[in-house]
Amino acid sequence: MIIYGTALLAACHLLGIVLGDLLGAAIGVKTNVGGVGIAMLLLIAARFYMHKKGLLPEVTEAGVGYWAAMYIPVVVAMAAQQNVVAALRGGPVAVLAAFGALAACACCIAAINRVGNKQEDSRIEANLQSLHPVGGLHNVEAD
């Protein structure tokens, strides 16, 4: 049943958010700490466990895969509700601070990614090529 996949996803999502809130409260900040990241780890673990037990038929996987494939449309809707007007009104301080921060980070990312083990990278790349998103390749093309 396709709903089993979606329900599994929902359960991981909610549990992750709750744990993130608890973590936030435990270290005394007024926000959720990594709730979505924890939910992702839970889903990875659940998939690993259920796959081994043979509890994960293709239809159930499709219940998660649909939402993974809906990811880009959701991101487009997210972009459409940003407060772009306020961002542009921030003036030179906001623009410069954002740009400066990003430039520093971009150089850092480029440096770390160049230093990274070249051999390992090429192996990972080979793996990546054989890795297809859940929705299947035909969905990615439309993205």
Binding site: F48, V64, A94, E120
Partner: protein, 254 residues
């Protein structure tokens, strides 16, 4: 007749949003093939169109939620809101190769810390250069350069004025938009090819919205790795901002 259609759309907000976003993505695909011969990813164009629509919506209504403030398009608010966004991000974890993620774990943590510290220092310095020389304002604007949620959370905790808070949010928003649009352009320079590189990117670039949209427009397969790290970014920023970073700033400028 027109009224009939209007009320149908109004009463089915989320469904209407699916249709609108579908059209935007369809148009983007055509633009990508015809205008750029596939050089610019269709989803990158779709995100830029989304931002342009958000600007139009903001001008039309004077609201803060872009296109979602236009009553006809209110469903966009639900579809692109935090709930469905996080739901879809969690779903992408199904594609994560556990071994790759584990191997990049340590470098992900380093990237997270650098990704909090670097933007903060740059943001606070630029605030100082523009005359915001008290520790509270510098910390708030610097925190805004981390993400647009860290900014106001930090500002509220240390008692910043509302114009500084607005500036801090604007800084974070501009950063998110720059990451969304700039990532596919800078992908080669950033070395964005592997899961490991995506995790470094997620930690350093920060903002979940920026990272998730930027990676989506670059290479869909890298999204879960970047998002996995980036989701910890705001939490760490909110933890360090009002505490360690504020005290450090206060120690430096007095």
């Amino acid at each position: 007749m027109l009224k009939l259609i209007e009320s149908a759309v109004l009463h089915n907000g989320l469904v209407a949003a699916f249709a609108v976003v579908g059209i935007v993505i369809w148009v983007s695909g055509i633009l990508s093939r015809r205008l750029t011969f596939g050089h610019v990813h269709g989803s990158a164009i779709a995100i830029v169109i989304g931002l342009a629509l958000a600007y139009w919506g903001g001008i039309q209504t004077g609201g803060t939620k872009g296109l979602a403030d236009v009553t006809l398009f209110s469903g966009i608010g639900l579809m692109g809101g935090a709930m469905l966004r996080d739901f879809a991000i969690v779903a992408t974890a199904f594609e994560v190769q556990v071994d790759e993620a584990r191997k990049a774990g340590m470098i992900g943590v380093v990237a997270l810390l650098l990704g909090t510290l670097l933007p903060f220092v740059v943001g606070a310095s630029i605030a100082y250069a523009f005359g915001y020389s008290d520790a509270v304002s510098m910390t708030t604007i610097g925190a805004g350069a981390v993400t647009y949620i860290v900014g106001p959370v930090t500002g509220a905790a240390i008692g910043a004025s509302s114009d500084v808070m607005a500036l801090s949010i604007a800084t974070g928003l501009i950063k998110a938009i720059m990451v969304m649009v700039g990532t596919p352009i800078a992908a080669r320079f950033l070395g964005l090819k592997t899961p490991r590189s995506a995790m470094v990117f997620g930690g350093l670039a920060g903002t979940v919205s920026g990272v998730s949209a930027g990676l989506a427009a670059t290479d869909r397969k890298l999204v879960p790795y970047g998002a996995l790290v980036a989701t910890f970014h705001t939490g760490i920023g909110c933890l360090l901002g009002p505490s360690v970073l504020f005290l450090a700033t206060k120690a430096v400028v007095g």
